[in-house]
Symmetry: C2
Subunit: 498 residues, 2 copies
């Protein structure tokens, strides 16, 4: 290893170790930590975050990066890591340490205040805190922005490089034009689908058995991974040999099954990161959007197909004979694909999901770029739900306060959920040229699909952006048409619309 790179590398190892410890604290907090530990453990987390900030903004780090940038015999990987270090440093060093600390404290408080406000259905008690969070978020974006970049675009780029609101406007306007009317048509003229048999009488112990089976069936390696329980399902990882997914169990049985399939999709991505890049700054999924493309690929595109269930539906019937022995496969597959406009994003079906995201996208732009009066947010929210989904929430927990994201200052994050759907569909149409999905699924050859994704996406980690991946795989830049086409084809057929 070259001397200058070695110096940088050992500093990056220190910052990486701190980040890994923060990930472990977060995991622990969501899955196990006792109720009253919060404020004490938060102190520790605060100190570790500052330690990370200290290393990244230290002059020594700046000098090491500069020395590496002058080096001309670095490998491609080394160069990518130097570039990532430069970017991570620049994102931090432009923020005064005092403000960095204040914001971290504010966000910790904000989550608590949001939780309380949601419980008491009281948006007004959260609004002043939200205003402060937005204030910091905009200030930080103004420190980070380049040239005449929009503040909201800076926020978008934190989660998805190479994207901006221009591209997203185009994407969402197509969604609005095509999917809002399709949803109306389905609710007005589509056939009735019964889902009542999916609820009640599914013991948690059996749901757990099924969850483990599904994760294994998709190829989740339990020697390098863990499946636990948490209030909200999520995936995290310490490195490519320690990837953790969670689910939660409810009365409605398909909820835990599809959350496990979803999280397994995330998990397979992180398990597929190359050994050469794990524990480096390139050793994670490249973006939230690509991550969601993988989770939703498994959850929706594959996991809700009849062919996926053909070989394993018998197992499900055996597990729950009282509930499912009289339900034929076709009826089960229809039920798990039912479209139903609803209030809550995390419970939304595949078709309406992106409309939930569209609403948040439109509102985030208003909040960030138009300086809107926050008191009006609940009404704007309700109006948009009524317009696009045909339902009007009557309380904050079902509306404006349902998501934790804004309290954490995560503006610009929501669009990635919808982008993930679109990336997945674009991949799907391309992959069909090379493989017959129905045949593979019927033959239980999920490994062929998984290996394709590993080979073309997972192993690269952050070495390629989402648009680079799409270009390299499909030969085409990001193109949302595939997603629209996918939804229209699938749901017109399901609902018997011509």
């Amino acid at each position: 290893m070259k001397k200058s790179y070695e110096t940088l590398n050992s500093m990056l190892e220190r910052s990486m170790a701190l980040q890994t410890s923060l990930i472990l604290f977060e995991w622990d907090n969501e899955t196990l930590a006792p109720e009253d530990a919060g404020s004490y453990t938060n102190r520790v987390i605060g100190v570790l975050s500052e330690e990370y900030y200290r290393i990244m903004t230290d002059d020594e780090m700046g000098n090491a990066i500069e020395a590496c940038e002058k080096e001309d015999n670095l490998s491609d990987l080394e160069r990518a890591i130097v570039k990532a270090a430069r970017e991570a440093r620049e994102d931090l060093i432009c923020i005064p340490s005092q403000e960095y600390r204040e914001n971290a404290q504010l966000v910790a408080d904000a989550v608590r205040i949001w939780t309380k406000a949601k419980k008491s259905e009281d948006f007004d008690s959260f609004a002043p805190t939200l205003e402060k969070v937005i204030g910091f978020k905009k200030k930080f974006a103004s420190y980070r922005k380049k040239d005449d970049q929009k503040l909201y675009d800076v926020m978008l780029n934190e989660h998805e490089k190479d994207f901006n609101s221009e591209l997203l406007d185009e994407f969402f306007s197509q969604l609005k034009k095509e999917i809002v009317p399709l949803l109306k048509e389905i609710t007005e003229h589509g056939k009735e689908i019964d889902v009542s048999f999916l609820t009640g009488g599914y013991p948690v112990e059996k749901q757990k058995e099924m969850a483990e089976f599904l994760a294994k069936y998709l190829g989740f390696d339990f020697k390098k991974g863990v499946l636990s329980e948490s209030a909200h399902p999520f995936t995290t990882n310490l490195h490519n040999h320690d990837v953790r997914i969670t689910t939660s169990y409810h009365d409605r049985m398909d909820s835990s099954m599809f959350s496990v399939i979803h999280e397994t999709g995330h998990g397979l991505y992180e398990l597929g990161i190359g050994d050469d890049i794990t524990q480096t700054s390139a050793g994670q999924g490249t973006s939230m959007g690509v991550h969601e493309s993988q989770s939703r690929f498994f959850e929706n595109i594959i996991g809700r197909k009849a062919a996926f269930w053909e070989p394993i539906y018998g197992k499900l019937q055996e597990l729950y004979p009282d509930k499912l022995s009289d339900i034929p496969l076709e009826q089960f597959v229809e039920a798990i694909n039912k479209v139903e406009p609803s209030y809550i994003r995390t419970e939304a079906d595949e078709l309406t999901y992106s409309l939930h995201i569209m609403i948040r996208y439109e509102m985030e732009k208003m909040i960030v770029e138009e300086d809107i009066d926050l008191k009006k947010l609940p009404d704007i929210w309700a109006d948009k739900y009524e317009e696009y989904l045909g339902v009007r929430p009557d309380k904050a927990s079902k509306g404006i306060l349902q998501d934790i994201h804004w309290s954490q200052g995560m503006f610009g994050y929501f669009p990635s959920y919808a982008l993930g759907n679109a990336f997945g569909a674009q991949l799907y149409y391309h992959m069909q040229k090379e493989m017959d999905f129905d045949e593979l699924l019927r033959d239980e050859k999920i490994d062929v699909i998984r290996e394709y994704l590993r080979e073309n996406i997972h192993r690269f980690g952050k070495l390629k952006t989402s648009r680079e991946l799409l270009k390299d795989i499909t030969g085409e830049d990001f193109n949302p048409d595939y997603f629209i086409r996918y939804l229209k084809e699938k749901y017109r057929k399901l609902y018997g619309l011509s």
Copy 2:
């Protein structure tokens, strides 16, 4: 806060946060982490340990400590923290960073090599590694030792301040003189006690229910604590609002019950640490010996008493009607107190336990002070077991390789287990002057006992050493007579010896 103290405090917060993260990694590794994560996560742990070493040995820390030592208006607590910081720094700074790193790496390897050697019953394959571990251990002790201190005393002091081999020689020689003959008398002339009904037919699910019940019954606060499962039961804590205990479940039902009671004893100690000192260098149990005094107090002195079981034995019978409904309380209490010379320390009963420790103590002194040929260790071990316990191990896993400690370089640690027993007995005889244990236990008033221990021991954390605690509570220095008396009284009676 005074300026100089503030500076020191913020550096100590950083080192404390790193230590807390290391504790979390250890917890995670023992309870959950996937099998293959090891070497990757160890890299992270290595970097975090070095970060801790870096902060503690930095000149800035040295200057901050010196400035505080010159300050004359510090509170008692602040002075104690400065002193602890000085000691922790001196323990580290005398070791060259290169050797510190080499030793950490060696210990990680040594544990792996020990695990393998134990599995293949092959001490010789471990001996060269053990020799290196001992080499480092002795070298570090020679860096740390003061004046004409013995190397083994330096190691003892890492776990128990104010103790040395002179005090321990006296303690163990009394044990040898009194308990070895008592054991012979029991095995030769004591009555037969049947324990067969304690094994088999105890479903793990029910054992879990009992484990949770017992922890709660003793006052373990699940809002500030967690009970999990691990191969070897242990207790750890992030601070006084996050204390974690584990147990493991076996065919023999009393195993998990008494490991939970034992770990709850440790847990109550850490939960009882004062809010004013948690998350400072004084905010932990003061020593391994005092910790064991608490765990064994609950496990043996209280937990194996008839009066403890009187109010709750009915619950146990209800839980396992097939097994226990015909077993009267007296028979159950006899069984859980049965004395049985055995090979394995962790499975030993209350009477023989300290003899297992005595053997290790005698061997550690030989290893450290007499430069003994390591190849002879298995035979020396077997000879001592034969002499003191009347059993001779025929393989390494039942003998010299049973414990992990030496592979981790933990010499000087074992004696604390026996000291804990002795501290507990000394406390017990003193507390009897103030309370009637049998009456309290029959009335389910364990809180009175727990509060006494909290008030007199727990809340002080490291602010008092073990000998200071004993002195302040009982008015007497450490006195092993109580332990000998306790064992003799209890077991002569149990076994019907005059």
